[in-house]
Symmetry: C2
Subunit: 204 residues, 2 copies
């Protein structure tokens, strides 16, 4: 279990495998105002790869190749936000994707708590701290606490997916979940294009 | 311009062409309670084909073949509701589809009025009456006013689509619209499966 820290992009030749867990840290929730600061990734082996993004940076070729690679599944919790943040920063639309929050909504119908902390607690018995969630991710030097927090957000997503997939199959909702995942990149694009609060499918 | 009235299903051998406008009338807005009563269709030639559905009816083979035909585009205004109603009644999931309400949301950003009446008025200068919208569609014999109303809901959808497609292209939003249309059948399925009010893509 190690944290690998990089500036601007993933290093050349690093292959994180066929399923990559991803989470982003930004300056806030408005992608047009709040820049992307950190992208943390994991191949599911316990290691976290953390890329710091500079203010004004508009490209990250190795990262984007992975995001757009049709043979690599990108695993998120509430991917809508991260997909939009990275599309906004680099122009690369992430696909295909899996979102643990959507999967949770489709199987954990006995609760309305679909936060990452709730999921890891219930599904794999791990307590993650959310203490650094609101911190200055734009700082040039990130603290050890920040790095550990960033890592903790991606280290369990593979295991969560396994468990959620079992339950989706059990309840006969795998196909429904897949259709939602397929639409998610476009839902993120709609956020940036100007429909962030609109349920585009609603009657009114 | 004629209304053709049928019982239970479309007649054998009737081909409505590659783009079929469809609208349904039901006993109300709750598909688990309110049965499907009427399905009106048009090939875009000014004729309306109106199928009356019996209480308890669970199949309509000719209709369903068309609904599921991948080479026939099904054109709706707020298709989410109609797709769910027909899936619930007959088990056939309509695809591929086009929805004029969604297209309108994506191009008529200067208004929040995306009702069918607003669309026909603005885009093709036609006034349709909504007077029979709330009426007893479960009646054995439909009134002439009901039949004309039912027809009016499908006769203009082809023209609306033409105009909306021009504007989607002009604004560079064709691909976004297509992604929404592709997800729509599954959105309808989610309604029936128990997520009618949930924006499945929302944070909370
Ligand atoms: N409207 C919103 N409210 C709260 N969190 C939001 C949000 N929009 C996006 N997010 C992101 O969703 C993640 C939290 O999801 P959840 O509450 O389900 O655990 C947060 O990421 P981080 O955990 O990386 O900070 C946060 O940045
Ligand atoms: N929550 C809702 N409120 C109003 N209309 C709804 C609705 N859910 C579905 N509909 C359907 O959407 C259609 C109206 O759309 P709009 O308001 O955009 O013109 C109506 O069909 P009909 O026009 O066939 O009766 C109505 O049955």
């Amino acid at each position: 279990m190690a944290n690998h820290l990089y500036k601007n992009d993933l290093p050349d030749g690093l292959d994180l495998g066929p399923i990559v867990a991803i989470d982003c840290e930004t300056m806030g929730l408005n992608p047009h105002r709040d820049r992307l600061c950190v992208i943390q990734m994991s191949g599911g082996d316990g290691d976290a790869h953390i890329v710091q993004v500079e203010k004004g940076q508009t490209s990250a070729p190795n990262l984007c190749a992975m995001l757009e690679n049709p043979d690599v599944l990108k695993l998120f919790h509430f991917g809508r936000f991260d997909i939009a943040a990275m599309y906004n920063a680099f122009g690369a639309l992430t696909a295909p994707v899996y979102c643990t929050k959507i999967a949770s909504r489709l199987v954990r119908t006995y609760t309305d708590r679909h936060g990452l902390k709730n999921l890891t607690q219930e599904l794999i018995g791990v307590d993650i701290s959310k203490q650094q969630q609101m911190s200055d991710w734009g700082a040039e030097t990130l603290t050890a606490a920040q790095l550990d927090y960033a890592a903790s957000d991606v280290l369990h997503l593979h295991q969560l997916r396994e468990e959620l997939n079992k339950r989706l199959a059990r309840e006969g909702r795998t196909e429904m979940a897949q259709a939602c995942f397929d639409f998610l990149p476009m839902r993120a694009k709609l956020d940036l294009a100007g429909w962030p609060e609109t349920d585009i499918f609603a009657h009114s």
